[in-house]
Structures are given as structure tokens and as C-alpha cells.
């Protein structure tokens, strides 16, 4: 294990009844780094994110954060330790305003020095601060989801298909925001199908298939790897 790794996933397995979703996944994300996670639908990417963020407990294996074993911790406990995430399909707190959505997360953070107005300003949501969150469009809801996660001042941000459903203009905007967050020192694990977007925001990628990692390295190298090509193009 690398000593500068913030997140270490060791042999993580997850079964749902008879279905094995993860088969001993290993990966590391260095402090301040950004690792991409790609793979076909059903390869276990979101399951892995759910385990790292505490929504699922793994069937076997360990998750370490900064050397500390955090396997099986509950999501709110992990949030207090500086792990947060966005959701593939965000479900903002619909009856609360945009500002209140961020305030709720900020109010439960044990780490955050951030301010709601700064977060909303950074995400260009300041004009919508008093709108009910349920009235936002998809791109705005995704940005709000990111804002809610930022409110807890995460050291590790798990980004689950933030780019899905966004226009090219919105994608560039989100990539710019994620890169700005990296410069602040936030470590990221980014699940994404959009490889162009991934190339803009990550250093390396792990490619997953059928619950196991089959490649680690640069995205350009992944495109030439025979196993990866077989998974994506069927040989």
C-alpha cells in the first residue's frame, strides 16, 4: 500500500443473495489525486461507490481512509470523517430551498469551514438560492448535489456519473469545477461513462468488468488494452 494513499480498497467483495456484484476489488487513490472508474453497466462501479460511502457494507474486504479502517461505517459517520459523494440520479431535498439544501449538510458537518453563499457562488447557483430544490432542472440538481457534498468539506469526493445527461457546455463547466476542487486538495474517485469528460478530470483510470478490476493506468493506454477493448467492443 502506498503511504500517500488517502483511499485504499482491499479485496472488497459484495454479494446480493446469489449474485456477486464485486469480486475482490483493489484500488488506491493518492491524496489530492483523481482516479476514474469506468466499465460497462453492471460492472460494479456504483456498488463500489456505495460501499466506500457506507451505504452498503461489504461482504468481505477492507476500506481504509488515510490508513484508518473505515469498513462498514455508516454514511453519516463517513461524512463526518470527510467522505462524501454525489448521486447518479440526485434526489435533492425537494421541499427545501437550494440554500437550505446546502445549509442542512453544512449544519451536520463536523469539519466544514465553508459558507453556503461561497458554495452556491462557486457552483453558479447563487441566483437560485431561494428556489425550491424540486423546481431545478437536471443540470442544476446535479450541481446542487455537488454543493451539498461540498458543504461537508470532504477530503474524499466520490463522483457518480455527474456528467450523465448534461449538455456539452454543462460538462465543460462541471469539469472546470471539479478541477478547481482538486486544486483545493480534494481527492476524487470519479465514476463516468463519458471518456472525454473523464480525461479532463482524472489522472488514471481503473476499468471494471463483472465486479473485478481489469485495468489500471492512463485512459489512453486503456483504449489500447486488449482486455478493455474486448469488454467494450466484444472482441
Amino acid at each position: 500500500m502506498s503511504s500517500d494513499a488517502l483511499l485504499v480498497v482491499e479485496g472488497v467483495e459484495k454479494s446480493f443473495g446469489g449474485f456477486q456484484a464485486l469480486r475482490g476489488v483493489n484500488l488506491q487513490v493518492p491524496k489530492g489525486g483523481a482516479l476514474g472508474l469506468v466499465g460497462p453497466n453492471g460492472s460494479g462501479k456504483t456498488t463500489l461507490i456505495n460501499i466506500i460511502s457506507g451505504i452498503y457494507a461489504p461482504t468481505a474486504g477492507k476500506v481504509r481512509l488515510g490508513g484508518q479502517d473505515v469498513t462498514g461505517r455508516l454514511p453519516h459517520q463517513l461524512s463526518h470523517l470527510g467522505v462524501n459523494r454525489t448521486f447518479q440520479v440526485p434526489k435533492p431535498f425537494g421541499s427545501l430551498t437550494v440554500r437550505q439544501n446546502v445549509d442542512v449538510a453544512l449544519g451536520h458537518s463536523r469539519r466544514s469551514q465553508r459558507k453556503t453563499d461561497d458554495i452556491l457562488g462557486f457552483l453558479d447557483l447563487g441566483q437560485l438560492a431561494d428556489r425550491e430544490a424540486s423546481s431545478l432542472n437536471t443540470a442544476q440538481q446535479k450541481l446542487l448535489d455537488l454543493g451539498r457534498a461540498l458543504a461537508t468539506d470532504p477530503q474524499l469526493l466520490l463522483v457518480d456519473e455527474l456528467g450523465a445527461g448534461l449538455s456539452p457546455g454543462d460538462l465543460d463547466l462541471v469539469a472546470e469545477k471539479l478541477n478547481a476542487l482538486r486544486k483545493e486538495g480534494i481527492t476524487m474517485l470519479v465514476v463516468e461513462h463519458l471518456l472525454g469528460f473523464l480525461a479532463k478530470v482524472t489522472d488514471d483510470v481503473v476499468v471494471m468488468n463483472a465486479g473485478a478490476e481489469i485495468f489500471f493506468g492512463k485512459l489512453e493506454a486503456a483504449a489500447k488494452d486488449p482486455k478493455v477493448v474486448e469488454v467494450f467492443l466484444g472482441g
Binding site: 457506507g54 431535498f93 421541499s95 451536520h108
Partner: protein
């Protein structure tokens, strides 16, 4: 007609109080507490017993029953709900489990109080009627309406003006997003569940007057009525319960005035109509998918 409408509002506020706790519980847990009506019944017997044993005024019994049942609710939540939540089908298991709890509570009530109707027959709220718009109403109806209104207002302030209330609304919107935002979902849910039971017990303390008396088998029927009220307003949205309660109360009073023999059917008729015409409730957002 005016009398029926005003009486409907007074009873509507009371029925909103009965339904509010059930809706709060559903909102945070996505589980229907089929034992809800039994906690109304417990509150009723508590008031009757406290009055006959110590001559305690029912309004004091109401406060005591609400606080005690709130404490019971916290314990009950941690005994039952986290285990249900880890099962494969929490909604179905919760229906069976809360139905079982309802049967146990009813059986214990029969053992303790017998099957006869019990009530408080003394005019503890005064003998003189209270006039509203020239119409005389029993004082207890007006007091019950006002107490219910106060309780509804307190729940509104809790949900919309306190930090834990915001957290409760966050959990209602999305448990997963709330959890990763640092909210202890079990803590928030336990408090909401306990408040729900406390409100039921508070409503129960007024039941000897508003419902004419208390019997151990009262719970099942009251759960159906409460369910009709919250479906009518909006399942999962506690404030919709107030609208549901008012519509139910006014409809009930109009039925009792003009079609008394049909009034017992009202909860079922309203449930059927709302589910057929507007399943999200008359004042509802999309809070359930089936």
C-alpha cells in the same frame, strides 16, 4: 348547514391530529404503522384511568400521555425499525409487524380494562356551550379543536423552524442523500416516530369526549380513519394532513346530518375516491410510486 360546517372544522382539526402522527411516521420511514390507532386508544384509557383514579384533568393527562408515549416510541423504534430496515422487504415486514403489535396492544388492553366502553362522563370542560357564529357547540369540541390546532402548529414549527425539523424533511425527501450529508437518519427517524406516537396518545386523551368513549378494539378503526385522512391530504406530507382532516371532518358532519346511516362508510369511500382520482392526495406531491 352552518352548524355542520363549523362542527366539521372542529372535528376535522381533531382528525388531523389523529392522522398527523401516522403521516409523520410514513414520511420518514416509508412504513405504515398499523398500530397507530392503538396508541390513540392507549391515550384514551390513560385519560380515563387518570381521571377516575386521581381526578386528573384530561388536558394534563394529554400532556403526560404524549410525553410518556414519546419515550416509549424512542425505545420501540430502536427495538423494531433498524431490524426491519435491514430485511429484504421492509415495507411488507413492517405491515405484518405493526399489525402484530396492534393485536398485542389490543389484547393487553382487554386484559387490563375489559371490553366495556369507558369514558369520562363529568363535564370537565364546563357545562355551558360555546357559541361560534351564533351556533352553540359543546365546550369540549371547541377545546379539542383548539388543542389540535396548537399541536398542529407545534409540529409545523418543529418541521419548518428547527434544525432537526429541516433534517427530518431532508430524510423524508431522500434517506440516502440525508445520510451522506451527515444526518443520523436513525436518530431523526426515531424522534419523528416517537412524536407520531406521542401525537396519537395526545389525540387519545380527547377521544373519550370526541369519539364518545374508549374500547380496546378502537385502534383498528382509528388507523383506517387516520389512513383515509392522510391519503386524502397527501401521504408523506404532514401538512397535507390538516387539509385531509378538515375535508374528512366536514364530510363526516355533513353525512351525519343528512345521511347518518351512511356516515360509517365515509373513510372507505373517501379512500377509494382519492385513490381512483388523485392517488398522490388532493394536496400531494409525488411521494410514492405505486
Amino acid at each position: 348547514m352552518l352548524y355542520a360546517l363549523i362542527a366539521g372544522v372542529l372535528f376535522g382539526l381533531y382528525y388531523a391530529l389523529i392522522g398527523l402522527g401516522l403521516n409523520l411516521t410514513f414520511g420518514v420511514l416509508r412504513m405504515v404503522n398499523l398500530a397507530h390507532g392503538d396508541f390513540v386508544m392507549i391515550g384514551g384509557f390513560a385519560a380515563v384511568t387518570a381521571f377516575s383514579a386521581w381526578h386528573l384533568h384530561p388536558l394534563w393527562s394529554l400532556v403526560l400521555a404524549a410525553v410518556l408515549i414519546f419515550a416509549v416510541g424512542i425505545g420501540l423504534y430502536y427495538v423494531l425499525v433498524p431490524r426491519i430496515a435491514t430485511t429484504k422487504d421492509p415495507e411488507m415486514i413492517s405491515l405484518v409487524l405493526f399489525f402484530g403489535l396492534s393485536q398485542v396492544i389490543e389484547a393487553l388492553a382487554v386484559m387490563q380494562f375489559g371490553n366495556n366502553t369507558q369514558s369520562i362522563y363529568e363535564p370537565v370542560f364546563g357545562k355551558a356551550p360555546i357559541n361560534i357564529l351564533g351556533q352553540p357547540f359543546p365546550a369540549v369540541w371547541v377545546v379539542s379543536g383548539l388543542v389540535s390546532l396548537l399541536a398542529l402548529l407545534l409540529v409545523y414549527l418543529y418541521l419548518y423552524r428547527t434544525r432537526i425539523g429541516y433534517s427530518t424533511r431532508a430524510v423524508m425527501a431522500s434517506r440516502e442523500e440525508a445520510e451522506v450529508s451527515g444526518i443520523s437518519v436513525h436518530k431523526v427517524s426515531a424522534i419523528a416516530f416517537a412524536i407520531g406516537l406521542g401525537l396519537a396518545a395526545a389525540a387519545g386523551a380527547l377521544a373519550p369526549f370526541m369519539l364518545g368513549g374508549i374500547t380496546p378494539d378502537l385502534g383498528v378503526g382509528l388507523t383506517v380513519t387516520a389512513f383515509a385522512v392522510i391519503v386524502l391530504g397527501s401521504l408523506g406530507n404532514p401538512l397535507g394532513t390538516v387539509a385531509g382532516g378538515l375535508i374528512y371532518g366536514i364530510a363526516l358532519m355533513l353525512m351525519q346530518t343528512y345521511l347518518p346511516s351512511w356516515s360509517a362508510l365515509l373513510p372507505y369511500l373517501l379512500l377509494l375516491l382519492v385513490l381512483l382520482i388523485k392517488p398522490s392526495g388532493l394536496f400531494g406531491r409525488q411521494v410514492r410510486s405505486a
